[in-house]
Amino acid sequence: MSAARRDTLLWLAQRWSAAVLALCLLVHLAGIIYAVRGGLTAAEILGRTRGNAPFALFYGLFVVAISIHAPLGLRAILTEWTLWRGRSQDLALAALAVLLLGLGLRAVWAVVQ
């Protein structure tokens, strides 16, 4: 794959993940406002999330979008504000993407199972 195509596809991935995040954030905020109306206890939250497949799918999508968007945004910031670039930067940010994905999906699984 040419560098031009790779860079453009990464840019598109960041734009599309941003669009997904914008929608997810609205749903997430509305969910928070709805959820706290009757008090906020661990039992109540788990009662709503356990075995809730739509919840798992929604927050799974949220986590995937974050895992794509955040490392790519950080890549642009690092390139603009520091001298760090190249393969070591790519590997570090790929590791960050995997870390965000792992931690996020683990958190979703913890409240759904």
Partner: protein, 248 residues
């Protein structure tokens, strides 16, 4: 602090002018220049050079906003000086005149424009036709979207004001900048050009159109009222389509 030079009479209104001298390690020198009606910033600089400090170096040619050679930083903002009236830019009776930002300073108000124009070459800003002089002249209808896009962007005079105003150029020295990308946009829309994909490949990589933050400083400052931001957005869309089709 620099030296103060200039003479005044009791009747004359005077401008307080600070002008950069030296290279990157220079200093501002202060002058008092007589105020005139319809006076441009270039008139002020010329007065200083002819009457107060013959050593002052600056660049100009046409004086009517066509050649793009007299751009400088005036009170912190990049402008063409030949058509910037003192009335429009003066602050508290003072003018501060410095060389354009983001370019090496040769001396005083003269910058080295090579990095700026080298990026036009990097952006493949050269027309590549597919016909010879023996072929008929191409007819390009003026109301097609491509022609309209070219018309909106083609009047660039290469003054460097957009380049000096762009934050991304300051952050990423390899960024091609608004003028080079605007030039590429005119060629991508030129139906006579046969290297459309080559232009897109040149601007899609690291430091190309995808690095633009859409701050729109270039569009705000362009003295020819061109909107490079719009062209750069067009390049982003064209690159995205080409990448999805596997053409890049």
């Amino acid at each position: 602090m620099g030296a103060t030079a200039g003479e005044s009479s009791a009747q004359e209104e005077m401008l307080e002018v600070s002008v950069w001298h030296g290279t990157e390690n220079g200093e501002f020198r202060h002058y008092r220049v007589p105020r005139r009606d319809s006076q441009t910033v270039l008139d002020v600089v010329t007065y200083i050079q002819r009457h107060l400090d013959p050593s002052l170096s600056y660049r100009f040619a046409c004086r009517v906003g066509m050649c793009g050679s007299c751009a400088m930083t005036v009170n912190g903002v990049a402008r063409w000086t030949c058509r910037s009236h003192v009335d429009q830019v003066i602050r508290d009776g003072r003018l501060e005149i410095a060389p354009l930002a983001h370019l090496p300073v040769v001396r005083d108000l003269v910058t080295d424009m090579r990095p700026f124009f080298d990026k036009w070459a990097q952006a493949k800003g050269r027309f590549q036709g597919g016909t010879t002089r023996n072929d008929p002249v191409a007819r390009v209808p003026p109301d097609t979207p491509e022609r309209r896009a070219v018309d909106a962007a083609i009047e660039c005079i290469g003054c460097g004001v957009c380049y000096a105003s762009c934050d991304v150029v300051g952050w990423r020295p390899e960024y091609l900048g608004p003028a080079a990308l605007n030039r590429a946009w005119t060629l991508v829309n030129d139906v006579r050009d046969v290297s459309r994909l080559e232009h897109l490949k040149a601007v899609a990589s690291e430091g190309g159109c995808l690095s633009c933050h859409t701050h729109t400083s270039c569009s705000e400052r362009c003295p020819k009222k061109i909107a490079p931001t719009a062209g750069i957005s067009g390049l982003k869309r064209a690159c995205a389509r080409a990448a999805l089709r596997g053409e890049l």
